[in-house]
Amino acid sequence: MHLAYPAVLAALLFCVGLYGVLARRNAILVLMSVELMLNAVNLNLVAFDVWLRDALHAGQALTLFTIAIAAAEIGIGLAIVLMVYRNRGTSDVDRLRDTAEPAESGATPESTDEKAEAAA
């Protein structure tokens, strides 16, 4: 089998997952997309392991580890999402904006003030 098939499939799956991470609003859907990305990597690992006929089967061992870590990640991630949901009543990532620069309205006149002063 051509190595290009699994490699290209993995790349495309990764990009689909990437799109999901960036475009989805619900945090759980974001987590799903992360799973897709991880699986794309797994496919790559397995394909290259098989192609290289590695004596230690490092690719497959790493795939197993990745799956285990992904399981842990999904557990912790869901716990976090649940807690955020309990505290905020939402799990939409684009509504959790506590780190945003506040008072956009206040910043603009002050800034123009400064400019006027600098010009004077």
């Binding site: 990437l18 475009a23 506590d98 400064e114 400019k115």
Partner: protein
Amino acid sequence: MTTTTLAVLVPVLPFLGAAAGLAVGRAAPGFVRPLAVLPTLAAAVLAVLVAVRQGGNTVIEASTQLTPTGSVPITLGLHIDGFAALVAVLVGVVASCVQIYSTGYLREDPRYASYAALVSLFTAAMLLVVYSGDLMVLLVGWEIMGICSYFLVGHYWETPEARSASLKAFLVTKLGDVPFLFGLFALATDAGTFRIDGILSTVASGGLDHPTLVALLLLAGVAGKSAQFPLHTWLPDAMAGPTPVSALIHAATMVAAGIYFVARLLPVFAASAAAMTVLAVMAAITMVGSALAALAQDDIKRVLAYSTIGQLGYMAGALAVGDRGAAVFHLLSHAAFKALLFLAAGAVIHAAGTNSLTAMSRTGGLAKRIPDAYWTMTVALLALAAIPPFAGFFSKEAVLVAAEHTALGERTGIPAGAGWTVLVAGLLTALLTAAYALRLWLRAFRGRGPQAPDHGRQPIAMTSVLWVLAIPSLGFGLGAAYLDDWFDGEALTPTLTTAVLGTGLAVAGGAVTYAVWRTLAARAVPAVTPPHVAHPDAEAGLVEAEALHLPHPAEDPADPGRALLGPLHGPAADGFRLDALYAKAFVRPVLGAASLVRFLDREVVDTYVRGAAGTAKGLGWLVRRAQTGNVQTYLSALLAGSVVLAIAAVALANAFAGA
């Protein structure tokens, strides 16, 4: 204890007193008075002991070097010759008197603690200047005196007069101190040391390369500190300080420091005939000009201030003719009677409720109210006018004799012209001095009009000090014969010619003034009494502070000074308009330059500063807009950047592989 230890203790004790006074002044007001008086008194006693042990003949030299200080070493050194010993005794005695007087004079003053501490600090600095054997250490004391003078002149800082006077005193003396510093450096570079004995031996061996330059630079500092023309203008204004301060700093000690400094380094100045001539001319102008100005003043303290300038001119004249014995002799006797005059003037102002001579001349019976001040002031004025046998007669004679010797060419190395200048100016000033001394006395104590109010007796602390100081004013001249050992071993006895000339002129001046006064007093109608202070029963310091505000009547027909001076009266009352000239020549250009700098700073430099801040702020505002708080946006930007980097890396790798 060795003499050296005693001598070290002399400046250290008042310094410790000042430090302790500043430290505990607020917390324990009960300790302030002992802390002010006792260290100064102890220093005075120790100074007497040092003077006795020193004996006038042997110079005590002791020095230690704390740390290496580059090419020219600076040492902590003592250099006590006869002059230093005597001047230290004088400083100690006058400072003790002033401290004791102040306990009565400023009894109720809320800032008495810091005042007393500053006076102690000043005393320590002056004693340091007197004893120091190293010019750098001397300069330290010199500058501490300057800053103490600044603070003490501004003691009544609530009044604008005191504020501007303190600034003026500081700036004008500083104007002289800068060339003084350069002069010290030049001198030390030429001599290779800051030690006085080292410098003197260098001068003796003719090793000084630029004597005129060094001497003229140093003279600038001396003129500033000792209020010699043309830097004398600060001293009359400095009378805005409390009277004891005027007595100590602006009459007896600090202003004498410049004279003392020249006396100490006289060989350096004598090495340059030009410098001696300059000094003689300076002294002559100062003497005559200040005596004329003193005759026209209305404020009693300003009369005394101009008289101080004139007497300092005498000392400078003595130095200009190369006789430091005469200079220091006059310094000592003048310090005694001028301190007495100021302290008595303080009592007079308190009793009269005004510092205006015109107002006093329209008040009767002032002499009866304050008999102590009256009698002691009479003694001091006689000493000032150089009437035998008072102290001033002998010391002034010593100056005139020295000038005569130089004028007749009996002294080598000093131009005869300098001698003639000093002699003529000195004789003329003797005449004027007697005139203004008598005018002061007549107008203060022989006034006619309503009786002066009775405030009861003055505090004993004030009156006793007056009598203590009256003793040297009366007898120092007679006793000086026993002090020859301390004055370079020279005899300071008067000679017949100058004695007759000087005394005759003084008597003539007095007689003319008295005649004019009698005529005017008979003719003039007593006009309205000028205003007095609102609270004449307050303690003396407060009365004086209030009196600073009183207006001085511009015209008084009964003033003998006015009749004597004629058309000169107006300019003389104004200090010959020197202040206006300085304002035009220096103050206005400086103000103009300052406003230019201000404009450049505000409008040009600040524009760049504001522009820099504005640019940074604008950039920050732009960047801040990117902070939406949406994690997905951040992640998108991050990944987009990664993709761009990856593509760039691959493209580059391909390009290089292809190449």
